[in-house]
């Protein structure tokens, strides 16, 4: 443990150190600066240099290898051959109040034939006359000689029926609302949409690329909450807020739920929060309201307050296509910017003629017809409620109802069994079909549609069959 460092060593160490310092004084300037530079360089290398990305330039051979290796997925995934869409019933003849299946006539509660205009002889006669005058197809889009005088007549009649300034027709029901929404709402705009809207509206909303704010189905409080939140954001940036358009997209009577929208409160909020209302009345046109003019008549609201009413000609009217009515200022814009209108051939004239005749019948029969359908819907609703074991969705005056099994028994399998059993007893009903990528997939249900010409006995029979089916399925 003795220190190996003697006094002499320490002295020599000190002199060595002193010599070192002395030599610094005598070293040439470049030597010192070079040493300092090296020290700084080391410090920089260790602490500050960012790791440089290595450039990945592929050679031609490597590129060719990548191309040769790449394998795509098959064009379509394998499909289950038992899927109901691949095993549909193929029908023959007129699909009206009764439909012929397997040689037997059964009562039809499955198709959207509310006013029983399918197969109506007056309408068929007018359609035949139109074929004898115009042929079948219109052979062109509306802008290039595809506008036939019968289209103009139909647009005028629809506008007059709704007491609006102008109407516009489309050649496909699905494309109507799906083309209307992107024509007005662009990337910066905001859409307040009910969660329960049907698929065509969802596609229109997607195509518009706007900000979408979904509110809970028919929940006014939720809508007010969203509107208030947006107002706060607007106050923070008022300049931007002046360039954002706002729209409320709702349905009059929802296809997926059968209930009516709370329109009066929504119209009040329109003037408070300054948004525009677009209503899709595909189901409520021709079914509710004293003269069949839809949800605005039902609530007795001035139609000038609604910016645009769109609907389909495929449900109550029994033709093909769709339309929209509103003020000229709003509707005219679609003639140049709605894709489904400008870039598509116009509606075949025979279907337009059929729609005009259907409107004639609706106007002639007016109040008695619509009171009948509303009262029959109420009676059916009461009857269905009295069957224990089912839960009925939908407003009591709505001719479209959704039927589910009560408790936790509601599965598609059981509903299909009910449908099949009903078919053996000559009642045609259907399970509502949806695609899997809906925004809010509704629960499985049977969609019951009332035809205005169903008698009380037939409605009674329907309920009897449903009761028996329930017993069979839950036993």
């Amino acid at each position: 443990m003795g220190s190996s460092m003697t006094r002499g060593d320490i002295e020599s160490l000190a002199t060595d150190f002193y010599d070192l310092l002395e030599s610094f004084k005598h070293a040439p300037f470049y030597h010192i600066s070079f040493e300092i530079f090296l020290v700084l360089a080391v410090i920089w290398l260790v602490f500050f240099r960012k790791p440089r990305a290595i450039e990945k330039k592929l050679t031609e051979r490597e590129k060719q290898e990548l191309i040769d290796e790449w394998q795509p997925e098959p064009l379509v995934p394998p499909v289950d051959p038992n899927h109901p869409a691949l095993n549909v019933r193929v029908l023959d003849g007129i699909v009206g109040k009764t439909v012929e299946i397997d040689g037997k006539k059964s009562l039809n509660f499955a198709t959207f034939n509310f006013l029983n205009f399918v197969g109506n002889s007056r309408i068929s006669e007018k359609a035949i006359q139109a074929v004898q005058k115009y042929g079948v197809g219109s052979c062109g889009p509306r802008g290039f000689y595809g506008t036939i005088d019968i289209h103009l007549e139909l647009e005028e009649r629809l506008a007059k029926f709704f007491n609006c300034e102008e109407g516009i027709i489309y050649s496909y029901g699905f494309s109507t609302i799906a083309s209307i929404i992107p024509a007005y709402s662009k990337r910066n705009d905001i859409l307040f949409v009910d969660e329960g809207v049907h698929y065509a509206i969802q596609k229109g909303v997607e195509a518009s690329r706007s900000h979408v704010k979904w509110f809970k189905h028919n929940d006014i409080q939720d809508l007010e909450r969203l509107l208030a939140e947006q107002e706060v954001l607007d106050k923070k940036n008022p300049k931007k807020a002046r360039t954002i358009r706002r729209f409320l997209i709702i349905e009059g009577l929802y296809v997926n739920y059968g209930d009516i929208c709370p329109l009066p409160r929504m119209v009040e909020l329109k003037y408070k929060y300054k948004y525009r209302i677009f209503i899709d009345e595909s189901v409520s046109f021709g079914t509710i309201g004293q003269t069949g003019r839809g949800v605005t008549e039902y609530y007795d609201i001035d139609r000038q307050k609604i910016d645009l009413i769109s609907s389909s000609l495929e449900y109550s009217i029994g033709s093909i296509g769709g339309f929209a009515v509103g003020s000229s200022f709003v509707v005219d814009h679609q003639r140049l910017s709605a894709q489904g209108y400008c870039f598509s051939a116009s509606l075949p004239p025979l279907l337009a003629a059929a729609a005009i005749e259907a409107l004639n019948i609706m106007e002639e029969q007016s109040t008695p017809l619509f009171e009948t359908i509303m009262s029959k819907s109420k009676r059916l609703h009461k009857k269905l409620l009295s069957i224990k074991g089912y839960s009925v969705m939908g407003d009591e005056i709505s001719p479209l109802k959704h039927l589910r099994l009560a408790n936790a028994l509601n599965t598609i399998g059981r509903l299909e069994e009910i449908v099949q059993f009903a078919q053996t007893r000559d009642i045609t009903i259907t399970v509502a079909r949806y695609l899997t990528d809906e925004h809010l997939l509704p629960e499985p249900s049977i969609r019951l549609i009332l035809n205005v010409e169903m008698t009380d006995e037939e409605l009674e029979f329907l309920c009897t069959v449903l009761q028996e089916a329930l017993v069979k399925v839950t036993s």
Binding site: W70, V136, Y145, R433
Partner: protein, 520 residues
Amino acid sequence: MAKTSAHQKNRSYTNVVYATPVSEHPSLDEVYEVTPFSEAFWTYLNYVILNIFGWFRDLLRNARIENRKGSAENNPPGFVPLYQSYESFYTRNVYQRIADCFNRPIGSVPGATLDLLERVTDDYNWSFRFTGGKVKTINLASYNYLGFANNSGPIVESVINSIKTSGLTAASTTQEFGTLTQHRKLESLLAEYLGTEDAIAFGMGFATNALNIPTLVGKGCLILSDELNHASLVLGARLSGAVIKVYKHNDMNHLERLLRESIVSGQPRTHRMWKKILIIVEGVYSMEGSLCKLPELIELKKKYRAYLYLDEAHSIGAMGLRGRGVVDYWKCDVNDVDILMGTFTKSFAAAGGYIAGKKDLIDHIRVTSHSTAYATSMSPPVVEQIVSVLNLLLDNDEEHEGRRRINQLAWNTRYFRQRLTKMGFIVYGHPHSPVVPALLYSPSKIAAFNREMLKRGVAVVTVGFPATPLVLGRVRFCLSASHTKEMLDEVLKHAEEVGDLLNMRKSKLNPKRPFHETES
């Protein structure tokens, strides 16, 4: 084609039923003459003058010196304007001046001749009034390639019959209770006609593209789409969520470069491999009159393992020896095209669209298509029209009516195109396509040509911006098998007059020279 047989055809086409005037070898020469400098200059000047007038008029309108003629908003102030003012600048000041050339209402069947409803405007095209008169014109505007737009005859009888037996609609979706026996018959006939395993039909051609492309490709896929594709294809591609890359019109080199680069670099940012690559092309492009280069496309698709989607809206029935579309014209194998799509509006004079291909593709579409799940099925009389036309085109009748019409259309196309080019018009497109665009360049000439031809009793379609590029306004003639040689001669005579009036016969490639009947 020998001179004598051409001469025979001039006399009476009903004699020559089996001879095919379409040459045996499909042609690859499409000509796009370069825009003459003077035309470009005057067209730009035209736009500048229109813009200056437009700003001036808007100024007057804002200062309330001039009345605002369009409609006004009826909501109280405080609402954000529904459409931006600059968007409608073009509409107010350029389109509105020539609005009488568009949206013309007709009052008859859109056959070889057309009855236009006469309308006059008292306030410079802001509103129209019908006088109640009808103007009879020769129709070179409707998409009636095989001339099946009729209001009498055996096909119309069967359509009327089907209205009586099946009604106008089933009022239900295809997946629920909307499928009728007629739909199945249509689909099997269609598959037989096209030579594919299976087919499915929809009620609207636009919706066929927009609602079905999203079921085939999705996120993680790549779509390579031609520059001039139709709006429905663009919408379908956008809705699918895939990455879209656009290649120059009919430029196969650019397409190959894009394919190579895309496969090598993979998806953007993550560089994962693409799930699928889909090339979308049209058979005949309706604004250019050009054909897609199908043999090269099939070669490329096989080399890079991509899928090919062919939209034959304008070419089905109109191209090919047997009228089976561009696949027939180029003599390719129909199994090489993965997805064949088309519409019934043009050659079949009905409405709707279809997709054809292998059985598993069609099964997949039946299950996942937006249209089969939510849209009403096709109307039975429309289906009946298509089925009747298909029966004729399949050559099932003794009179070979279908074959006669296909040959007539091909002859009309050759004759009309040759004469039009020899007059000195600048004509675009493929020599065998029945869509014939002749360039007019400036918006004023578009309006003038349209109105002058109408005065002489010919209805034509003239298009400008935004359907075409800014300086390439054009007139587009759509030929039909129902046009006789006399009708075409009359149209050409009037076109010559108007062309001289507007100084349009200035092609350098085909300078105008007189035409002799014996030339072929």
